[in-house]
Symmetry: C2
């Protein structure tokens, strides 16, 4: 039996960076362009300001396998595309009945959840908030504040990530700014 | 299919308290008396100072079932029993190949790990340290600082807790103060 060595990582609690990260994923507006509801706003930003960093994920490199609990930190930059807050791509788990746990580290944001039949919820997240994604809920996070929003996420190693369902259908509800407040509204591009 | 509602809890990051906790477990020296190596020191403390709180666990009430990720916060009071630092009871998982993840929130401590054949390790923990307990490692935590040591823990819901093995055999190594520094030494009472 191969026994894995225990290992510690350090999170910079004020920035959400994980050191040493095994892998860092950067998502920019250009590659996420289809996910935002206001397509005119996407094209205007890309034409005027160029591409922009939406979020960064630092992975600890724990194996995605049953029995393990892989984890990562994510930092979403503040900003909007039209009225819609910067957000992650969002995913369901391949094994739909696997949960995920989030802990807010810095800044403010929302955890946006939905079931496959389109029931939507959102949880407000700040430093110290544990947001629990129960089995069967697809989930993404959005930065609804004015500074970078950082959080820790951990999930069962066998869960698997299904990004395709969200890419194809979108979320039923999106988080936008209305009268200066983060508000969930129906997603006009949801299919 | 019964879908569980998403729910957020708040951790007081400076104290480690979880609000609202579903269940709080308090462990005192009297009920843990057999776990400390220096039995004379245990009896002396109980006779002189009376019982004392060693640690408190706040559970979020997530079901212990496959697919879930139950989590808790723990606060270990500072102090020693003889040379040995205040610590948790420690456990293996019933399913030995399930991992666990720890995040230091406040104070300083050590995550003490051992395999069933007695190989021991320790990881120093401070706020922002993620200590990973790989599959097959029994684990306990100790407060090696001078203020309460608080951390978040999360584990696969199907893992199960085996406290009996540690109660019967002890850990192969214990964390004691030597020349003012936390030091792992062989446990004289380990069987």
């Amino acid at each position: 039996m191969l026994i894995m060595e225990p290992r510690a990582f350090a999170i910079e609690m004020d920035t959400g960076a994980l050191r040493p990260a095994e892998r860092v994923i950067r998502r920019t507006l250009r590659e996420m362009r289809a996910l935002f509801a206001d397509q005119d706003a996407v094209e205007r930003i890309l034409a005027t300001d160029g591409d922009r960093l939406i979020y960064e994920v630092c992975l600890a490199g724990i194996e995605e396998a049953a029995g393990q609990i892989p984890y990562s930190t994510t930092v979403i930059q503040p900003g909007r595309v039209g009225d819609e807050f910067h957000m992650t791509k969002g995913h369901f788990h391949v094994l739909r009945d696997r949960a995920e746990i989030y802990l807010g580290l810095a800044g403010e944001g929302h955890l946006i959840l939905q079931t496959e039949d389109g029931t939507a919820r959102s949880l407000s997240m700040r430093p110290g908030t544990v947001g629990y994604v129960p089995p069967h809920w697809g989930h993404r996070t959005a930065n609804s504040g004015s500074v970078p929003f950082a959080f820790l996420a951990a999930w069962p190693g066998e869960a698997g990530h299904d990004y395709g369902t969200v890419e194809e259908r979108g979320f039923a509800q999106i988080l936008v700014s209305r009268d200066g407040r983060p508000t969930l509204i129906a997603n006009p591009t949801h299919v």
